[in-house]
Symmetry: C2
Subunit: 212 residues, 2 copies
Amino acid sequence: MNNDQLVRVTRYFRTLNRLKTIGLERVFAHNLADAAGVSAATVRKDFSQLEIHGQKRGGYDLLELLAALGELLGKGDSQNCIIIGCGRIGRALMHYSGFEQDGIKVVAGFDSDPLVYSDSSHPVPVYPLSRIDEVVQARDVKVGILTVPEQAAGDSYERLLASGVTGVLNFTPVTIKAQVQKDGRMPVVHNINIALELEQIFYELKFPKGSE
Amino acid sequence: MNNDQLVRVTRYFRTLNRLKTIGLERVFAHNLADAAGVSAATVRKDFSQLEIHGQKRGGYDLLELLAALGELLGKGDSQNCIIIGCGRIGRALMHYSGFEQDGIKVVAGFDSDPLVYSDSSHPVPVYPLSRIDEVVQARDVKVGILTVPEQAAGDSYERLLASGVTGVLNFTPVTIKAQVQKDGRMPVVHNINIALELEQIFYELKFPKGSE
């Protein structure tokens, strides 16, 4: 799957999970198209390319489709992640319930501040950074969300990789470039730089594209 | 400027602001290159393309360079923004101090819940949604950050555009596609879908690029 198709398949998968909770048993390309903001022809083309076939009577069996897309998205595996840095943004993400419908689970948070990790009011356990290796192994953690202050970004990233995590969603303003590790692993890093996004919006408002 | 160059120029600008607070008066391409993670040759090429010239003695006058880059980035104008939806993520962004060094100012928050907007402990004033037009005009607000629940995304977006805001940073899981408005304005919308980013990281870990 290319990136655009992956985005669409993720949307179909999410929509199907919702339709399942509503009690639907059969869905049509049009249902998924509406929810994903694409045409029914695009849905059918995606499924045809992915070798997913409909029913003779028309439409798709919801559970079969969900299973097929889940397999394509690697849903059988652990989708456990941890949050490094439990400041305001880290804590907001801990409480965010939007991941669950994708099967993504935040299993723990980590912080260097004893006041933070000794506070038991968090929705998931929060540990001192020294326990990261232990938790990553015990919970088969694949991805770390980096929400530490800028000056701690580099160290925390190295700490994550050393623990065995190879997927990183980086919210710090430091852009992290993934490099092949000594053991041959290639980390997958996505950077979300909120200040830079705002900066680009202000810039595009001032100098609209195509007006240069 | 293309997007890559814009990202670099934003980094140079941010670095210069920091060097200024340290008391530097002259900077060299190498200084900016180190901080921005590019080569000195790239810095010089950027400045040459942007018609920014160094001093005869070598290096650049820090204040002159800051002014020139600021003008290119549209820094003379208002960079005021507001936050729509003061839940955990909205409140975390209200407290985030990383915008200030770019001259971006969060001037107010908006929420539909009286318990939220009557609470005076926020770092910026929080108003009911009904006062959005008034605040946008009074503070010359250009950009709105959308951190409302998914089901309120569409309405809040329309409300923002109606108030005169044309830049939107959308944190809701609903992807917003900018469309030309009746008055001819073209909104600038950036979507940050945190769940989707995580989803993509899990997918790339399972099916590494180039292994298909």
